[in-house]
């Protein structure tokens, strides 16, 4: 039953993907096949285990990896993790466009995987190096539409875009985007933040107006723009990185943000994370290996490493984002409280109402323009 929402969202593409992946693996000449119980790392069908380089250059969202995971990885493989951070998918793309090379591992959101793959910024995933993934991944995370053949990416985690508010400081109980906007423009003016991300902000506003998260209709986008321009003067900040702390400190009382941050706030202060009734974004962030990387084996080793249930539990208990591992594998290793937390693992009914971001270059350009106006206002 749980699986329904995935099929609803992603049709039957998952099926196609699995068979495609099998074919792909077979074509690569690896002696293991996906159907077979993918064996423990040591017995990867006779081929020598590729040597992990001494460094992993990990370009990632900030605060998206448990410090403990870095430590364990470094101990296990004797490799140093070099870190750099970006604040939005668009920043990551801009950095690649600007010619930055040498990153071994990045974590874009689904739609950005597609764009980066089209632009030739990604290298293919070598599945033979990922026995843990093959064994432990929940099949509904395979063959997702942004990467139907699982050629470019491996899911890291998934979540929703909604808003969080302090229940002790906001006496109304907002449940919709409309209420969020109205409260932000009313009693809580100057104490509200929104994400510094084009799709999240424009898409959520479109949804509030009753349109698709991915609308490319100029009239609808114009309406969304007007809403955003009206909201702008009431915002404390436009940030994807600092709002968690701001809400915890009480400098902000409401924030448009992601579920993991919402859950993290709720873990420290009386607060609630809301997936708006109108809907919103459902997203999957995925590991990908950019072109120009220098330590591909270390990148694969990392992906494989975090697909170990115990390590994965470390990650989930730090980020508060849903894990793509089979649920039964997390039972026992992940804190029950987190496993049953619907902020971290949203209910199927909730997710059924959401859309993943997916916009054409033309739609993106319209959004960029709105973004400039929003920032300029």
């Amino acid at each position: 039953m749980r699986d329904n929402y995935w099929e609803k969202r992603y049709d039957r593409k998952g099926f196609v993907a699995i068979s495609a992946m099998t074919a792909f693996l077979a074509a690569c000449g690896g002696s293991t096949t996906a159907e077979e119980e993918p064996a423990a790392p040591a017995t990867t069908g006779g081929t020598a285990k590729p040597e992990v380089e001494d460094t992993l250059f990990y370009y990632n969202w900030a605060a998206y990896v448990n410090d403990e995971t870095y430590k364990r990885f470094e101990e296990e493989f004797g490799a140093t993790v070099k870190k750099d951070f970006y604040a939005s998918n668009e920043d990551l793309l801009a950095k690649m466009q600007g010619g930055a090379r040498g990153y071994d591992l990045v974590v874009p959101t689904g739609y950005m995987i597609q764009i980066m793959a089209e632009e030739g910024f990604l290298t293919e995933i070598d599945w033979s190096q990922l026995p843990n993934v093959q064994e432990n991944i929940d099949p509904k995370f395979q063959g997702l539409p942004y990467d139907p053949d699982d050629k470019w990416s491996v899911p890291k985690d998934w979540g929703t875009t909604g808003f969080v508010y302090r229940t002790d400081l906001v006496k109304e109980k907002p449940t919709t985007w409309r209420e969020f906007f109205d409260l932000a423009k009313g009693p809580y003016s100057g104490k509200v933040t929104v994400l510094d991300g084009i799709p999240e902000l424009v898409g959520s506003t479109l949804v509030m107006l009753g349109y698709s998260f991915n609308s490319e209709d100029e009239g609808e986008l114009e309406e969304a723009k007007q809403e955003l321009l009206a909201l702008k003067p009431h915002l404390l900040a436009i940030t994807s990185t600092e709002y968690k702390q701001m809400v915890i400190d009480g400098k902000a009382v409401m924030a448009l943000g992601w579920n993991g941050d919402g859950a993290a706030v709720a873990a420290e202060k009386p607060a609630e994370y809301i997936v708006a009734e109108e809907g919103g974004e459902f997203w999957v962030d995925a590991y990908a290996i950019p072109t120009g990387n220098e330590h591909p084996n270390a990148a694969h080793a990392w992906i494989n490493f975090v697909y170990d249930p115990e390590i994965n539990a470390l990650e989930t208990s730090y980020t508060y984002y849903g894990s793509p591992l089979k649920r039964e594998l997390l039972d026992g290793v992940l804190d029950d409280e987190i496993l049953s937390n619907t902020d971290v693992f949203p209910e199927p009914d909730t997710v059924a109402n959401l859309e993943p971001n997916s916009v054409s270059p033309e739609g993106t350009e319209l959004r960029d323009r709105i973004w400039t106006e929003f920032k300029a206002a």
Binding site: A62, G98, Y103, T241, G292
Partner: protein
């Protein structure tokens, strides 16, 4: 009465100028993790900053770039200053204009132009991405060579050239004239220019931001990125140490330059570039 008022005003201005510096230093000694919640006096963040490779690594990068930049800028700028002093006006005017252009072009404009240029250059030479320490250094030198040229030239013109004349008349070549006559007298100006070039480069954010590649982080870039992810006490400590370092080098430079008679002139010329 007017004097008292002016004095009070000046006092307030100095307070305005130094309060931020004082605040960074004071809060660097805050033992708590929350920057604004005073949690006892502690020097532990200094130790942590010095042990944190994500701070020491960029610090080394910044030193390397600033140093290389200063040397290159001194060579190019001094040579240019010497040449400019004798060029005919019709030749000198456009060069002057070019030098001033490098100084007044908004950094953001130059930064993006340099970014596009280096990316294209990498493509044309089939080198792929060439962004890194070198591109930052090369980009910094543009501005700083002009800074050095201006300072050295002001001094060169100001000190009169009868000694050089004599040296040339006695048959000495340009090289030995430079070494024996000009360099000793220009040294303070070149040193001042080099010091400025070093500081500007060490401090630069915008140009570095655009022409740095993957993983070549300078100290200002590191501080900026930590700002986006919330102020941390470690960064406060690092900032305090940088301030102390700059202040020390300024005092040192001041003492060195004071020995040369022209101190006052330089102090006026330098920052007004």
């Amino acid at each position: 009465m007017g004097k008292r008022l002016l004095q009070a005003h000046s006092l307030l201005v100095y307070l305005f100028l130094y309060a931020p510096i004082a605040v960074v230093v004071i809060f660097a000694f805050n033992g708590g993790r929350q920057v604004l919640n005073w949690d006892g006096f502690s020097t532990k963040w200094f130790g942590e900053a010095l042990a944190d490779p994500t701070i020491t690594e960029p610090f080394k990068n910044s030193l390397l770039i600033a140093f290389g930049n200063a040397i290159l800028a001194c060579i190019l700028g001094t040579a240019l200053a010497l040449a400019l002093a004798r060029l005919r006006p019709w030749l000198r005017a456009p060069i002057d204009a070019l030098v001033y252009m490098t100084l007044v072009t908004p950094e953001i404009v130059f930064g993006i132009a340099a970014l596009m240029f280096f990316v294209q250059l990498g493509n044309w030479l089939s080198l792929g991405s060439i962004l890194g320490l070198w591109t930052i250094l090369l980009a910094h030198v543009v501005f700083n060579a002009s800074v050095v040229a201006l300072i050295v030239r002001a001094r060169f013109v100001g000190m009169g050239q009868s000694l050089e004349e004599a040296s040339f008349d006695l048959g000495a070549g340009p090289l030995s004239t430079f070494r024996q006559v000009t360099l000793p007298r220009l040294a303070p100006a070149i040193l001042a220019g080099g010091l400025l070039a070093f500081t500007f480069s060490f401090d630069d954010f915008i140009t570095s931001f655009f022409v740095s590649g993957a993983g070549t982080t300078t100290l200002p870039l590191r501080i900026f990125s930590s700002l986006r992810f919330g102020i941390s006490p470690i960064v406060n400590a690092a900032a305090a140490m940088i301030l102390a370092l700059t202040l020390l080098s300024i005092v040192a430079a001041y003492l060195v330059l004071r020995r040369t008679a022209q101190m006052r002139r330089e102090a006026t010329v330098i920052p007004g570039v």
